[in-house]
């Protein structure tokens, strides 16, 4: 297991815990993510992935424990974090009744872009993500793949230092998924740290490092090869199935 030095870390999580009523969603999470890394957070439904991401983005207050994201404390400086991160929620969260270009324009200006700078950035995003032919279309009329491109455009309008992607490719066709990962790697090469959750095992294998969550607990972390060795399984998919089996066994 490799633990990055603190000054090299985009995310440092220490003893993070989240309780909803009597249900423990995340328990004693310890994790570090390096700058510029593509980091995969995996686990069955209800394992605490989304809760973890939401705590890191300042959308939920941790019950206890601490975390810093891009150098800022999630409890004390959530607004500093919000300026430097981009976030794609599990569910499409953009405005159906605004056009593609209007959504990008809105998020650009919310992130502080004005005038010519915003127009240039909007044009650049439309071009880079191939959204130009759809610029005038209402977001609500787009299919899954196009919506995902638009969401990525809005989340990266301000060139964030870190990007949180919560199941970004759910319900998206294989061609769009491949294209999406192409952009993710392009962003990582420019130095953007990426934290992504996914259910697709081929996507998990594209991540530089992985963490497996099960019932709120971190049970494995490392490169694909390290995780495979730890579980003695031939593929990430097998690790996943093994985990789900253990979870269900524990639930009985």
């Amino acid at each position: 297991m490799t633990i990055p030095a603190p000054d090299d870390a985009a995310v440092v999580i220490q003893g993070l815990r989240k309780v909803f009523g009597s249900r423990v969603a995340v328990e004693g999470l310890e994790l570090s993510i390096r700058r510029g890394e593509v980091f995969g957070l995996l686990g069955p439904n209800g394992s605490g992935k989304t809760t973890t991401i939401r705590m890191l983005c300042g959308l939920m207050a941790p019950t206890s424990g601490t975390a810093t994201v891009v150098g800022h404390d999630v409890i004390k400086e959530p607004e500093q974090i919000r300026r430097k991160i981009g976030y794609m929620s599990q569910r499409f969260g953009l405005y159906d009744d605004l056009t593609v270009a209007e959504n990008i324009r809105f998020y650009g200006s919310i992130y502080g872009l004005r005038g010519a700078a915003r127009r240039e950035r909007t044009a650049e995003l439309l071009h880079d993500l191939g959204l130009e032919p759809r610029a005038g279309q209402l977001a609500g009329e787009l299919s899954g793949g196009w919506k995902q491109r638009l969401a990525l455009a809005c989340a990266t309008a301000h060139r964030p230092a870190m990007l949180f992607l919560d199941e970004p490719t759910a319900g998206v066709d294989p061609a769009s998924r491949r294209l999406f990962w192409h952009w993710i790697y392009a962003l990582a090469q420019q130095g953007t740290t990426i934290l992504v959750t996914t259910h697709y095992m081929d996507e998990a294998e594209r991540c530089q490092r992985l963490a497996f969550l099960s019932r709120g607990h971190l049970i494995a972390v490392g490169t694909v090869a390290e995780v495979l060795a730890q579980f003695g399984q031939p593929s990430i998919e097998d690790v996943f199935i093994e985990l789900q089996r253990r979870d269900e066994g524990a639930a009985v």
């Binding site: 939401r54 983005c57 300042g58 959308l59 939920m60 207050a61 959530p78 607004e79 919000r82 300026r83 991160i85 976030y87 929620s89 569910r91 499409f92 969260g93 953009l94 405005y95 159906d96 009744d97 605004l98 209007e102 809105f106 998020y107 200006s109 919310i110 992130y111 502080g112 809005c154």
Partner: protein, 364 residues
């Protein structure tokens, strides 16, 4: 501050939301017509039977005077008190006029001619309106008759501001306030919950947008809607019910500002308390009830027990009604309305501040 982007977004959405726009303009028009025509507390054309035992020019003159008030329709001349009672009992008539045999004689001798109006008072609202109409007509006739002679004591009732005692004149300015309370509170109470339900709020609050911009961005576009609604009701009230506009419209629009903002902010405050659009709608309608009953819109606050008056005093509408009626019906100026204006500004400030404080950029 990121107010402008938020305003821009809300305005673009509002322009595309034809249904809400139509509702915002259609609701005031429909409600105005419903309220304006249905809440007519003055009673016109009350079916009336006449027992004229005097059968003189003077008695016929009195019948004519009453008929001319428009409150009474003479449907039958009856021959006895028994017949008169029978007609009212059977519901064929709601009022009876009795002129005794010595009516003319009394007047000619310089005494007081007496006539009697009997009213079916099962509906007190209708009967009191009829009674006051008759009393007015009677005293007017008495004044004519007395000529130069002065009666020793005379109580003259002179209704100011609304000499015809027409209820539409009183009701329509109030409708502006009631409708604004309902639609503006409803609109904003739903708008944040709608974003929560659609998942767009999560994406929005993960940005560095400040709470003040978010709240004001949700409020200010609807200020426009509020002013459009006021104008629609004023114009229709003028065309359909001949509601007078004696005072300064500029003053009315100025003072409306604080009321509209207060209503919108109240809606936002509600939206921080509810979880769904349905709950928001229910809460808005719950809020409507005290506004209709306790603000002085339908019933005079002076007649209410103290606790009801206290609740009324906590409603912005109570003060806005005074402004509306004062400006429209009495041409009252800022010198008499500044207190109401200040109270509304205080409501608006506190409610906006509260909704900013209560709104949390989290999704728990």
């Amino acid at each position: 501050m990121r107010l402008w982007p938020m305003l821009w977004k809300e305005l673009v959405q509002l322009r595309r939301d034809r249904f809400t726009l139509a509702m915002m303009l259609g609701i005031p028009a429909i409600q105005l017509v419903l309220f304006g025509y249905a809440i007519q507390t003055e009673v016109r054309h009350l079916a009336t039977v006449v027992l004229d035992e005097s059968r003189t020019p003077e008695s016929r003159r009195l019948i004519e005077v009453l008929r001319n008030t428009g409150n009474f329709d003479i449907v039958e001349q009856v021959r006895s008190r028994g017949e008169l009672a029978d007609r009212i009992e059977a519901g064929r008539a709601s009022a009876g006029l009795v002129i005794p045999p010595r009516f003319m004689r009394d007047i000619e001798r310089g005494g007081t001619g007496q006539a009697q109006i009997i009213v079916d008072a099962a509906d007190p609202l209708a009967s009191s309106a009829a009674l006051s109409g008759a009393a007015l007509a009677g005293s007017a006739r008495a004044a004519e008759l007395s000529g130069g002679h002065r009666p020793r004591l005379e109580m003259r009732v002179r209704p100011w501001y609304n000499p015809g005692l027409r209820s539409a004149v009183y009701i329509v300015p109030g409708i502006i306030g009631v409708l604004l309370s309902l639609t503006l509170v409803l609109i904003t109470s739903m708008s944040i919950v709608r974003e929560r339900e659609r998942g767009t709020l999560e994406q929005l609050i993960v940005t560095p947008i400040d709470k003040t911009s978010l709240i004001l961005g949700k409020i200010l576009p609807f200020l426009l809607i509020g002013y459009v609604q006021i104008s629609v009701i004023l114009i229709l009230g003028r065309l359909l019910f001949q509601v007078p506009m004696l005072g300064s419209l500029a003053l009315l629009y100025l003072l409306s500002f604080a009321f509209i903002i207060a209503s919108l902010a109240l809606g936002l405050l509600m939206s921080t308390l509810v979880r769904s659009q349905v709950q928001a709608m229910q809460l808005s309608f719950l809020f409507l009830l005290p506004n209709i009953l306790l603000s002085g819109f339908m019933f005079p606050r002076e007649a209410m027990p103290a606790p009801a008056q206290w609740i009324g005093a906590a409603l912005p509408l109570t003060y806005f009604l005074r402004i509306l009626r004062g400006v429209l019906l009495k041409n009252v100026g800022l010198d008499h309305l500044w207190r109401e204006g200040l109270i509304l500004v205080a409501f608006a400030t506190v409610l906006v501040a509260l909704s900013v404080v209560r709104f949390q950029k989290t999704i728990e």
